[in-house]
Symmetry: C2
Subunit: 382 residues, 2 copies
């Protein structure tokens, strides 16, 4: 156990990379049948690819995530990447040992081609002329990146929430390209309730007069609508318990009700802050396209049944859920575990008792860390 003495550290300053592919004669064909080109992929890597190219880990981000998993963008950067406690020297995804990759998804707004990118046919941002995309399309773009990096087989694909959906698609679509899949707080399909929450967010955006049919680039953006969409989403990512523990019924800046419009509960103030902060970093059209990709996600429908979907897989699976996650609750993870077992696949399952709701995968990194590092060590040693 040499790791015991390893210094745990940060990956430091990370310089993002870009990779572009796709031409008019060799475009990316999407699940819809539409073609798209060129496609730029923004990605980051941490650690070093070994000679055998057997130590590559692809991390897949959730709805509002990006390629910046760990470390800092600049010396002045105050906050590290979104899963920093998990990725670095001596950390669960140990960059002394593994080569870690993360890319911004297709349709995103953090460097990878999406609705805010320039449509080469017009010279203007795509807006709603960007084609509708799926989780499968995101994964296909990642496969181009992995090809580009010369990696034949990933040690693991790992992601939470929408990242878990991508990990599933990877294992099903490219069975020979992944040795394992860590699927966290995910679901085999978006439920009617999930679609409903997404629909509210989209309605908030498209009802904002600044949205202007998606044509707002270079003008006032639909910030109120996007902020409200984020507020709704945020509630679904937390549990009732974690909201209670964090805010309870505390007032913001007041001890007692004033019975006027300055009465504001701390939880309201927090949500509005989260909404406003989100607007600074996220594109409203990306919200529409990515949430729709999640709506479309349904393994049963795409492959005939969950069993049929998993039949083709060759990866070792680790499925993880959180007791307080009411958005993609444990029973949806268990459904996948049972289908994998039925197909005789190698699957482990962990249900972590954790109060933070769906966001547990981002917050509770200690137990997750132990789970993933031992899963990987075991796999990597053989």
């Amino acid at each position: 156990m040499g790791n015991r003495t390893t210094q745990v550290g940060s990956v430091g300053i990370v310089v993002p990379k870009e990779f572009t592919f796709g031409t008019s004669t060799d475009p990316l064909t999407l699940e819809s049948g539409r073609n798209l080109y060129p496609i730029t992929v923004r990605y980051e890597t941490y650690g070093t690819l070994n000679r055998e190219k057997s130590n590559a880990i692809l991390i897949l981000h959730a709805f509002s995530g990006d390629a910046h998993v760990a470390g800092y963008k600049t010396e002045q950067d105050r906050y590290p990447g979104w899963w920093d406690p998990m990725v670095g020297p001596g950390k669960p995804f140990d960059t002394n040992k593994y080569f870690v990759i993360c890319s911004n998804v297709l349709g995103g707004c953090q460097g990878t081609t999406g609705p805010s990118s320039i449509n080469p046919a017009t010279g203007n941002p795509y807006g709603l002329s960007f084609p509708l995309i799926t989780i499968g399309d995101m994964v296909k773009v990642q496969r181009y990146l992995i090809d580009h990096l010369g990696i034949e087989r990933l040690l693991t694909v790992v992601g939470g929430s929408m990242g878990g959906m991508q990990a599933l698609e990877w294992a099903i679509t490219y069975p020979d390209r992944v040795r394992s899949a860590i699927v966290i707080a995910a679901t085999p399909r978006l439920t009617a309730q999930g679609i409903a929450f997404n629909a509210v967010g989209r309605n908030a955006i498209t009802s904002d007069p600044n949205w202007n049919g998606g044509n707002y680039y270079g003008k006032d953006i639909p910030s109120r609508g996007l902020s409200i969409a984020r507020m709704v989403g945020h509630i679904t990512y937390l549990s009732e318990q974690s909201m209670h523990d964090k805010f309870g019924r505390r007032l913001q800046n007041r001890e007692q009700y004033g019975f006027d419009f300055n009465d504001q509960f701390a939880v309201e103030s927090y949500l509005e802050y989260q909404g406003d902060k989100f607007v600074e970093r996220f594109d409203a059209n990306s919200y529409i396209y990515i949430s729709r990709a999640m709506d479309y996600f349904n393994l049963d429908e795409k492959y005939g049944s969950l069993e049929a979907a998993f039949r083709r897989t060759r990866a070792k699976f680790l499925i993880v859920s959180f007791t307080s996650d009411w958005l993609y609750p444990p029973k949806q993870s268990k459904e996948m575990v049972f289908a994998l077992m039925k197909e005789g696949k190698d699957v482990s399952y962990a249900e972590l008792d954790c109060p933070y709701g769906h966001d547990s995968f981002l917050i509770e990194t200690e137990r997750q860390g132990k789970l993933y590092s031992s899963f990987l060590e075991n796999l990597y040693a053989h």
Copy 2:
């Protein structure tokens, strides 16, 4: 059991009534300390008050309800009142036996004074000059109505959701005026999550450019914002299971994904329809004021503790919750049951196994009906 042979019927056409009280010298003093006058209360009654005035039942409506519980407004009216299966000859709240009253709440927009009413000081609608109100204020207005009807003691006060909050306030504030309280799908306080959902709805309304600081009467109304507020609310009233059973992942008007903006899931279409329908009958400012009254609701805070709140009550309680209600879940009802038991009060509790979420109190009327009618018969006979 003479009821067995009673014909179950409709209350037929109901003519709403109005009662006005409050003057500059004798105003209604609100919990905030502010005075309000005049106050008009729109109400409906069904059945006949007996000579002893001992058969009066006050039904308390939920957030978006009104005084029109049962029967029809006109001969042409297609849909009956919101709890029609529960109120009528031979029905659980049997109008052959009981005198049933329901009034629109203070702050509402269905005939009772609220932000859309004319402010006598200006001759214009109140808008945001309407004072902030509480559940206690709604109940105080109802007490004026009960005084006006000459009823000393109500046989029962009964309501679901926000109606349950009012039933609680009645039993606590006017212990000598109620023989019993039926508290359905309620909570002793709004949780942080409940406040958060309300905050999203209010933000959607106030972000609508037509809202105009609440000054939209006689102009274009903030219909998009109000519609989105309703969509959010509606999701919280249903369970994941009931949404799945009703809509699943069905598309509206299509068999297969078209991967274009005409793809719409049935659940999206339903929510948008519900939102649009709501706008026709509800005032955006009422949404703001009533949701805030619910945010303020907290029996512990108001009375020191839940036990202290219930200590003063003299009513017999029937508390009812629904297994699938995740907005005001059974554990919140049980908390009240335990507090009542601790204070030695007469309390019965029923947790109904029902898939319809918070809205179960409106949808599942058969088991509720039996429960309430036997509770009342037993009470009325003694």
